[in-house]
């Protein structure tokens, strides 16, 4: 038979449940592929081989005993390395946590495993999820399986590249400003950022706490819906998780959408958008129209993107995002001080202050330090009102725009990224250009709304293009159905040649 790695998560689940494939075979096949390809791609920080095989064996024994396997029975998954697992390490791709062992599992991880998932390992990211290319990893960059000279996007670059290269059936990422959707777009897979509060953040190492959300990265919309059904739901350990019923996203996926209203975000459809991406968005709008949806232009004035005379883009949303995220990060990352856990300097120190300074100077990378400093500045006495408080006001305006838009539309359509995957090193010298990679994804985080990036064909350079759909809060059922509609209309997304498809 064709490699079982070509099966979608849903397909593999079915094959395991039917006894056509054992969970152990599936785990072995994926672990073998990781052995073969990950030296080149570096998607994984760690592979938990023995544990994965043991858990897969347990699933097979369950099946033999006639017990239910759970909705993810035997599926080999990958977890972004900023999500805590009680086994192995949780490094956040930072030297400061290079040897950190979490004493507990994140709620999302325990839910996956309780549903029968087999965790293969922890994937690479931009250090503490700060970045858009995975080049900020404290260990090594991840490469894009479509072109290994290019970045996979970030910060969930390891998870997206692993999902695209068929090194896992699906993966978890985290999205603070686009960190699931942007790499999904660069790697040609589906990436879903749920509504803020839909998935517990307990055990997700905090970057920007009011923006962070865990979500699935998968090969198709159905697989993403499957994972969301498992990880979504209230958690008493996360005060920001909402106590609302979790619909069966999968069961509703192929229900036809009647009278769907699609809004084309005029601010995102701007002159600065690459023509090929613009064309992809147009193709999607046409597909919606052909399926009977009403497509209209809508405006998100405070998410507007301006191009300066030098061609450099600017946006309220990006400015607002970086103030909020960095301020929160400066506080969230204060705990890494070399006292209780994590990297502690080996050099002699004269007092506790020097211990803090040296440990942090040695443990954090350049971009993390930059964000801690900017965030600290934004919260300082005398600057708080001008930066943090003002950013909160802008955030409110951005939210209001979305409220108005969703009074008229069910979903909004636009690009996920301004361009396709760029070469390694292309933006590392200029952090501001790098920050603009998230220009279309950031608003959803500021407004707490769900968003999904769906593959929409390849560019002339044979690189994936993604389009983004957004919906109102907790409207994931409609968001996923709209994404599924596009998927059906555009045909299945291809796998990168490196994954050995067909």
């Amino acid at each position: 038979m064709a490699s079982l790695r070509q099966l979608s998560a849903l397909g593999l689940r079915k094959a395991i449940a039917a006894g056509e494939v054992s969970a152990l075979e599936a785990a072995r096949e994926y672990l073998g592929a990781i052995d073969e390809l990950d030296g080149q791609l570096h998607c994984f920080n760690q592979v938990h081989r023995d544990r994965a095989l043991e858990r897969a064996g347990a699933i097979d024994r369950k099946r033999a005993a006639g017990e239910p396997l759970g909705p993810l029975g035997g599926l080999p998954l990958a977890i972004k390395d900023n999500i805590c697992t009680a086994y192995g390490k949780t490094t956040c791709s930072s030297k400061i946590l290079a040897d950190f062992h979490s004493p507990y599992d994140a709620t999302a991880v325990s839910r996956l495993e309780a549903a029968g998932a087999v965790v293969l390992g922890k994937t690479n990211l931009d250090e503490f999820a700060m970045g858009s290319s995975t080049e900020n990893s404290g260990f090594a960059p991840t490469r894009n399986p479509w072109d290994v000279s290019r970045v996979p996007g970030g910060s969930s670059g390891g998870s997206a590249a692993a999902a695209a290269a068929r090194l896992c059936a699906a993966a978890l990422g985290s999205d603070t400003g686009g960190s699931i959707r942007q790499p999904a777009s660069f790697c040609g897979v589906v990436g879903l950022k749920p509504t803020y509060g839909r998935v517990s953040r307990y055990g997700l190492v905090a970057y920007g706490s009011s923006l962070d959300q865990i979500g699935p990265i998968a090969r198709n919309v159905g697989d993403a819906a499957l994972l969301l059904s498992v990880i979504a739901g209230h958690d008493g350990s996360d005060s920001t998780s909402l106590d609302r019923p979790v619909p069966d996203y999968l069961a509703e996926l192929d229900k036809p959408l009647k009278n769907l209203r699609v809004g084309l975000v005029s601010e995102f459809h701007s002159q600065s958008l690459w023509p090929e991406i613009r064309q992809a968005v147009d193709r999607c709008a046409e597909a919606f129209g052909a399926a009977g949806a009403a497509v209209t232009e809508v405006s998100l004035p405070h998410s507007r993107i301006d191009a300066g005379p030098d061609g450099i883009l600017s946006s309220y949303a990006v400015a607002c995002y970086y103030v909020v995220a960095m301020a929160e990060a400066s506080s969230n990352l204060a705990r890494y001080d070399g006292v209780h856990y994590g990297h502690r300097t080996a050099k002699p120190v004269k007092d506790i202050i020097e211990l803090y300074c040296r440990s942090r100077a040695e443990g954090f990378g350049q971009e993390v330090k930059r964000r801690i400093m900017l965030g600290t500045y934004a919260l300082s006495a005398g600057y708080y009102e001008a930066y943090y408080l003002k950013a909160l006001k802008v955030r409110r305006l951005i939210k209001n725009d979305f409220d108005a838009a969703f009074a008229k539309c069910d979903v909004l359509l636009g690009p996920t990224t301004p361009e396709t995957a760029f070469p390694l090193g292309a933006k590392t010298a200029d952090p501001l250009t790098m920050y603009l990679s998230d220009v279309y994804t950031i608003s959803a985080n500021l407004a707490g709304l769900p968003g999904i990036s769906v593959p929409a064909g390849l560019s002339r350079e044979n690189l994936p293009i993604g389009v983004q759909l957004l919906s109102g809060a907790f409207n994931e059922p409609v968001l996923l159905r709209a994404a599924r509609l596009l998927e059906v209309a555009l045909g299945p997304a291809p796998a990168p040649p490196l994954a050995g498809s067909n």
């Binding site: 999500i83 805590c84 949780t90 956040c92 946590l97 950190f100 979490s102 004493p103 507990y104 994140a106 953040r201 307990y202 055990g203 997700l204 190492v205 905090a206 920007g208 706490s209 009011s210 008493g236 350990s237 996360d238 005060s239 920001t240 301020a327 929160e328 400066s330 506080s331 204060a334 705990r335 001080d337 006292v339 209780h340 856990y341 506790i352 202050i353 803090y356 600290t376 919260l379 300082s380 006495a381 708080y384 943090y388």
Partner: protein, 505 residues
Amino acid sequence: MAPTEAENPTSPTLTTVIGLEIHCELDTRTKMFCRCLNRFGDPPNTHTCPVCIGMPGALPVMNRQAVDMTIKAGLALNCQVPEFTKWDRKGYYYPDLPKNYQISQYDLPLAREGYLDVPLPGGRTSRIRVRRAHLEEDAGKNVHDLAAHTGVDLNRAGVPLLEIVSEPDIHSVEEVMGYSRSMRRLVRWLGISQANMQMGHMRFEPNISIWVGDGQRIFDESAGYFTPILEIKNLNSFRSLEKTVEWIIDYHRAQIIERGRDWSLEKVGKQNWGYRDDLECCEFQRGKEEAHDYRYFPDPDLAPVRVEAAWRDRIAAEIGELPIARKGRYLAQYQLSDKEADALTEDAPTGDLLDSAVKLGGPVRRVVNLMMGRMMAASNQKGSTLAQLGVSAEALAELAGMMEAGKLSASAADRVMEVLLAEGGKPLDIATRLGVLAVSDASAIEAWVDAAIAANAGPAEQVRTGDKKAKQAFGFLMGAVMKLSGGKAPPAAVKQLLEQKLSPK
């Protein structure tokens, strides 16, 4: 107008101006933001979890019991309890603070703008305004007595801490002490804190300045000026608070004489000083230039708190009679002395014990004497409250009743009380077991009386003749009867018989 201390009848007048912050650990079952037990005295780091040791990815969940307690304190302090409050992060680096930020409340505290009426000696009362009362998490404790390094015990990290901030309405050492003691009584009374000083449940931070100028026009810049505000942190006993305030006031006065207007708030600003227990003096720590910037911002991990009217009303209904009102009632209704009324309103359960014993028929005077005698001695020894001794209102009422009925002498009652304190039980059973129950058989009593008179002819004669030592002799004979009876003769009956038999012929 608050009383002022007129130091020098010729101008300028010096008025002490003090604001006091009181930190009080709440007596909740679990910590403020996790489910670890809130317990003092266990081995280091045995009540810790990913949340309170600040592990990556861990998140806080608010303890509603602590919020209830804070609302209760706020209402008892006559504060407004706003409908909307929130949590903020206060950032500073310290090894006993695992996250390097403390979850606290910055601009929207749970309670604000109240007051406490503080009774002062001589029946005076001072009203000290309370600016705010908010809730935060306590830090851990650095342990310095290890051989090679400093350790950190995080059992206390995350314990709910109530911070009550007064307005600068305090003008003397007497008022500082009255305010802080009244506050301790109040939090104990409300059952929200054990307020045990030895366990560090209460810490004080006075801000002390002196107004040099017209004492009737404090804060009016044309009428005088303030000396620098000196803040002293982390005082954990009434003694250190008193010593500190005295020392700082003296220091201010000396500086005023030495430096005049150079020692002013305007020129020097605010300073932090520390108290040295070993030297009983204070020392400079840092000036305004080194003041911390705490970079407060709303904690994104916690939802704002909405205290709806129903919630507030439920707590208000739990408050009941407050200590000052209770004390007034004891003075009037039970005719207690000031000292007794103070001691028995130290905490609510102790006052409740008195009230219940009286309601069960215990004669007030006898009940109070029992509580202020043996029970007080035992509570001082154990460092517990009277109510915590475990003597029930029923036992107390019964014992007092037996004394009143002449069934127990004072010394016999003491022996019964010892047993009650040690192992509990019913006073009648204990007295019977001890064989100290008064004998009611009149012939037995008469036999003891006759024997005592016969054995002590001299004193008997003195009583009979109304000698100038008659009173003393009567007492001696009483004692002799009691001794003969082994303490079982009821004193009232003995007295009556002796009087009858030795009446002048």
